[in-house]
């Protein structure tokens, strides 16, 4: 579904991704772990099309299409979803209206019928049960005054509404208590299927106990330095990242794009 080949990217003068190779197949869950500043969030933003990042090399194919030929909104309508680490507050736009607008734009692009407000209300009630959100959050302005946890819940609600093929969740676990993490982890898992894929960007393995990854990748200084299974995540929990950094720095990187 997603092929990342020798991807390099920078923000300003700062090269953040220094040659990422990653293959995500339909039906798979990939965890992207790594210390602060390793490029995890950048990878998510580059895939979603954040304008502040410049892709300087490599390629990304999504269902065989060159991802970089699509703008951020086209990528979203094509089925890529980025769950933000820090969702943006938009005072003045109700959450429900925004969700319906986003849903209908995607439906329009896919040639499906748009939902009127009544139809959408039925649809959304089912989704808010899935993420156990209080219905009053639908009437509030988008993310305005939401706690960190409620914002994350709202991200997963948006994911449920948009039903993306590839979801990239950037630190879903930050700001969530254990119960909320379990609820959202279960909701995310329920959305998985043979033609869906997930990338979970996280510091901590805890979230991976609910959303079991097929592969765990460790990013350090803009490169994937280790790939393994769940045991790698558990090893990181035990030993931290420092040993990896030391190990990676020892042999000078041989590859150069």
């Amino acid at each position: 579904m997603l092929s990342i080949r020798n991807l390099t990217a920078r923000i300003g003068e700062n090269e953040v991704l220094k040659g990422i190779d990653l293959e995500v197949k339909a039906g798979e869950v990939h965890a992207i772990m790594g210390p602060n500043g390793s490029g995890k969030s950048t990878l998510g933003k580059v895939l979603a099309g954040h304008p502040a990042y410049e892709v300087t090399g490599g390629e990304v194919l999504f269902d065989g299409r060159n991802l970089f030929e699509l703008s951020a909104d086209e990528r979203a309508r094509a089925g890529i979803f980025l769950g933000f680490q820090h969702p943006i507050e938009v005072p003045g736009v109700s959450n429900a209206s925004f969700l319906r607008l986003a849903y209908n734009k995607k439906a329009e692009a896919a040639g499906r019928d748009e939902l009127d407000p009544l139809e959408f209300d039925d649809f959304i009630q089912e989704k808010i049960r899935l993420v156990k959100m209080d219905g009053s959050f639908l009437d509030r302005s988008l993310n305005e005054g939401f706690s960190g946890g409620e914002k994350k819940r709202n991200e997963i609600l948006q994911m449920c509404v948009l039903d993306p093929r590839l979801s990239i969740l950037d630190e879903l676990d930050s700001g969530l208590d254990i119960d909320a993490l379990r609820v959202l982890g279960e909701a995310v898992t329920a959305l998985m299927g043979p033609d869906r894929a997930l990338m979970i960007i996280t510091h901590f393995p805890r979230i991976l106990e609910t959303i079991r990854p097929d592969q765990v990748h460790v990013l350090s200084a803009g490169r994937i330095v280790r790939t393994g299974g769940m045991e790698l995540a558990l090893e990181l929990e035990e030993r931290g990242y420092d040993w990896l950094k030391a190990e990676v720095q020892a042999p000078a990187p041989a590859m150069r794009a």
């Binding site: 099309g49 990528r75 979203a76 933000f84 005072p91 209206s97 607008l101 734009k105 302005s141 948009l162």
Partner: protein, 428 residues
């Protein structure tokens, strides 16, 4: 006699005979206007607001004309509405059938004895010649008196319509005088609509007495060719609450100069403003909040959206006098620029002469937040749609508190249309 002026201030208006009532105040205003020239950009308070286009036109006094007010009717105020056309009372379109006993909502000319305080608040010192002109020559206007302890459910709607007289630009001088007696509360909508090339010089005076509460919505949606110069003077007494929101959509040039005096302890004011500008529109707000005594509160939020070649001016002074200890004042001005040629000149100002106060102010002028744009685009909204939605949201936020549903809906529709977001109508 002063030297012959190149072009005196609105001679045809001042040349009208002095209308009946308020003789001393009118004479005072006439004196202030003697030898009065047009304000120029050399003056600090008119620095950004050039009146050249206004000076170039000849205005004649407007007459009562037949107008269609269907679009201006608010169902909530069906029986509590006064209508004025070109400053003249329109009894046919006014309807005051739904008012509790004792509440006065009538035209000033018929009740001058009830408004002896008129003119005592506005324009001290003759700093605003257009307000003086109003005092000298206004024909009629609205009088609102809410007696002690009355809590008015239905909103009061005072609608001032300006209508160009054939090919001739028309000037009107609307006047509004409002008193809330002790423990009274009400919602008042002061609205300006119009067609064609018109000049409106409006003066509103408001007195909120002890423990009374007034929610005052001031809506200016005159034509794109209109000139609108309005002044507001309000006095809030002990524990009184005055909440005032000024919305400027129309007008080629509009200026609003609200002055609020917190006159007794515990008084509070919320003074909000929204201007939505396009093409070559200019909207100017010069506000003055005067903390004269201890323990008063003021909150001011002013927002502007400037598109095309429009210009917004905001100059807000919060004045805290020496005796006004325990003052709590906040002022915030935000401007959104939608085009490289649009401009917002913002000057928030705190002048504090007391030492035990809590005051804060800030101004932020800029473009749409790129992170917010990306957030919406990452949900599948095309850039143009995301931009329109964020623009709408910026303005809509300030309309959220309007307590009259039909008015709120109308204003949101206008914002939707003006931000090219009509297709988002379900957002309202």
């Amino acid at each position: 006699m002063a030297a012959v002026m190149e072009r005196p201030l609105l001679p045809a208006i001042l040349a009208q005979p002095r209308p009946a009532g308020w003789g001393p105040r009118r004479r005072q205003a006439e004196t202030a206007l003697e030898g009065q020239d047009w304000p120029g950009t050399g003056q600090e308070t008119w620095k950004y607001t050039d009146l050249a286009a206004l000076k170039a036109l000849d205005f004649t006094p407007g007459a009562l004309a037949a107008v269609d007010i269907a679009a201006g009717i608010l169902p909530e105020a069906r029986g509590s509405r006064l209508v004025f056309v070109n400053g003249r009372y329109d009894s046919h379109h006014s309807n005051t059938s739904n008012l509790p006993a004792g509440v006065r909502l009538l035209n000033l000319a018929s009740a001058s004895e009830l408004a002896h305080e008129l003119g005592t608040l506005a324009t001290p010192g003759g700093t605003d010649p257009f307000a003086e002109l109003n005092t000298a020559r206004f024909q009629d206007g609205a009088l609102v008196i809410i007696p002690k302890g009355i809590h008015l459910e239905a909103p009061l709607h005072v609608l001032f319509i300006s209508d160009q007289d054939g090919g001739q630009p028309t000037c009107s001088l609307p006047r509004l005088f409002v008193v809330l007696e002790r423990n009274a509360s009400a919602t008042l909508i002061e609205e300006y609509q119009g067609k064609g090339r018109t000049l409106t010089c409006a003066v509103t005076e408001v007195i909120v007495r002890e423990n009374a509460s007034l929610n005052h919505e001031r809506i200016q949606r005159e034509s794109a060719e209109a000139f609108h110069l309005s002044s507001l003077a309000a006095r809030v007494e002990r524990d009184g609450q005055y909440s005032c929101r000024t919305i400027a959509f129309g007008g080629r040039l509009s200026r609003s100069t609200p002055q609020v005096t917190l006159a007794q302890e515990g008084a509070s004011v919320i003074l909000d403003g929204l201007a939505l500008l396009g093409e070559a529109q200019l909207a100017d707000t010069h506000s003055f909040i005067d903390h004269t005594v201890p323990h008063c509160t003021s909150r001011q939020a002013h927002k502007t959206i400037a598109d095309d070649k429009s210009l917004a001016v905001f100059n807000g002074i919060i004045y805290v006098r020496k005796d006004a200890q325990g003052t709590d004042a906040q002022q915030q001005c935000r401007g959104l620029l939608l085009s490289p040629q649009a401009r917002v000149d913002a000057k928030p100002q705190l002048e504090i002469y007391a030492d035990d106060v809590k005051c804060a102010h800030g101004a932020a002028i800029g473009q749409l937040d790129p992170e917010a744009m990306f957030y919406l685009e990452s949900r599948g909204l095309a850039p143009a749609l995301a931009r329109n939605l964020l623009t709408y949201a910026f303005a809509s936020d300030l309309l959220a508190g309007i307590p009259v549903p039909s008015l709120k809906r109308q204003l949101r529709q206008t914002v939707l249309a003006r931000t090219n977001a009509e297709h988002l109508e379900t957002l309202t």
